[in-house]
Amino acid sequence: MAVAPEKPRIYEGSRIPSPTPTVLQVPPDLRGSEDLLQVNFGPNHPSTHGVLRLIVDLHGEDVVGLSAVVGYLHTGFEKSMEAKTWWKGITYPERIDYLSFQNNELVFVLAIEELLGLEVPEKATWMRMCLAELNRIHSHLVWLATAALELGSISMFWYCFRERDTILDLYEMVCGTRMHTRYFQAGGLAEDIPRGFFPEARKFVDWMPKGVDDYEGLVDRNEIWLERTKGIGLLSADDAIALGQSGPVLRGSGVDWDLRKAEPYLAYDQVDFNVPVYDNGDVWDRYKVHMDEMRESTRIVAQCLDRLEGMEGQPWIADDRKVVLPPREELHTSMESLIHHFKIVTEGYRVPEGEIYVAVESARGELGCYVVSDGGPRPWRVKFRAPSFVALEATATCMTDALVADLIAIVGSLDTVMGEVDR
């Protein structure tokens, strides 16, 4: 295993279970014993926040065996997208990871633009980055609300949903709907930025750091929270890389890897932010990574707003008529625009033949989109690399000598969204 940069060792060697890396086997001496109880943390469980099913073998309070069963929300996204044109297909990825929906849309649109070789205007790039970061905060808020709710801090739920609604108001103002905005087109944005957006966004950016202080004030020095998160669900750097973890789970285990810094896309290289990395690889560190990331994202949004305010009146979508709909008023005058409009709307634009894998840093980690096009108006194959799908593989490794109550904290800290796991 290529050794990650020298980090304090959380535990020696590797805790990945032997025959099957994702199933924690019951130790042989306990196998047939009377005290073993097999419990289904089944599809409809209040604490799994989604239709995840964990088959858990309990010896008293200790979790001695675990295997995750997924597929209860399998929606056949990739099959449906193969039957839709590229234009209609952009609506699907948002429903995959319905918490950071903007990043899903972004990764599919970036893949299309890369295959098309399409230049996106600067205003669209910065607005995409602004919305993607707002979406990261929104996703961390819903994660924090539900993770803290499971560990007993009910009031955190209401605090977080207060800020979440502020963000969704911003989305509603810009894109018309709260979630699943379908605001990104292949070539830029669907609409221009409405006038009232900047003052509202400024208000949110000023308020958000105080909001994060509220959340930390609620739980950071709370004895119960510390007792239930410190030293629970350990995952060393090498195990995290071997298990393909990414995002807050990887950065919580001491690996300094963030796609926004390592492979900057959009305009992340012109924005100043730093990436929180913690070394202990337990539930507490993943929580701290989420909290710091919310602050960093707010800083990025502020910088995006500064740049965007200076771009009044710039084009917000490319003007390659083969791909982008011509503006309405042009249809009444020029015949070519009418033909382009007709071709795009009826048959859909064609993406040149090729295959590409684009990866984006979504709220949960590396969200990849592998697209194969055969030169026609429909994608031939779309495959999404879901960070939550991989995070669930680490449940067996993090569960060594955990109690039942820790199981809830660990599954909560892995921040899995079942829509993304089952695609």
């Binding site: 599809p43 209860y72 929300l73 056949g76 829509g419």
Partner: protein, 188 residues
């Protein structure tokens, strides 16, 4: 005879300038035929105004279902903010999200394990009709396996839309309309 005379006070009914909508009219003359006794009306009122939903979050609609409990769209005003996780203590099953075929059997089992009288809200396009996923994996509409009382449109529906759905369900209950499985005579 509008619902107001039955003491129903949901905001829409009390809207000053608004005459009875289509929903109220249907409900209105339905009540005369049902002719509830005062005891039944009292029981219907009690059942209607304290409906306990079951936490049955599937996909994106579950996130909007969660937000009806938050401070801004507070469902506590209608007595429905207690989300029970066990079907034994729940009256209302809000199917929020797309139902995969693998999830259909657990959904049916949970529905069977709920006690009568029970109601079902199909929240969102995916639960009501399979939505945009007309493919091998998704059940094309929850009413194929359970009797649905209220279909809430939207993808995901706004929290107000779900609150409206719950308010309309309460009006149906208080008007004495039996649950869907009784109307359609299917296994409860």
């Amino acid at each position: 005879m509008a619902l107001k005379d039955h003491g129903l006070n949901s905001e829409r009914v009390l809207w000053v300038g608004k005459g009875p909508g289509v929903f109220e009219e249907e409900l209105g003359n339905l009540e005369d035929k049902l002719g509830l006794s005062t005891v039944e009306k009292a029981v219907a009122w009690a059942q209607g105004s304290s409906i306990w939903p079951d936490t049955f979050g599937l996909a994106c609609c579950a996130i909007e279902m969660m937000s009806i409990v938050s401070a801004r769209y507070d469902i506590a005003r209608f007595g429905a903010e207690v989300f029970r996780s066990s079907p034994r203590q729940a009256d209302l099953l809000i199917v929020s999200g797309r139902v995969a075929h693998k999830m259909a059997a657990p959904l049916r089992q949970i529905y069977d394990q709920m006690l009568e009288p029970k109601w079902v809200i199909a929240m969102g396009a995916c639960a009501s009709s399979g939505g945009m996923f007309n493919n091998y994996a998704v059940l094309q509409g929850v009413d194929k396996i359970v009797a649905v009382d209220i279909h809430v449109p939207g993808c995901p529906p706004r929290p107000e839309a779900l609150v409206e759905g719950i308010v309309r369900l309460q009006e149906k209950i208080k008007a004495g309309v039996p649950p869907a499985y009784e109307i359609r005579g299917v296994a409860s």
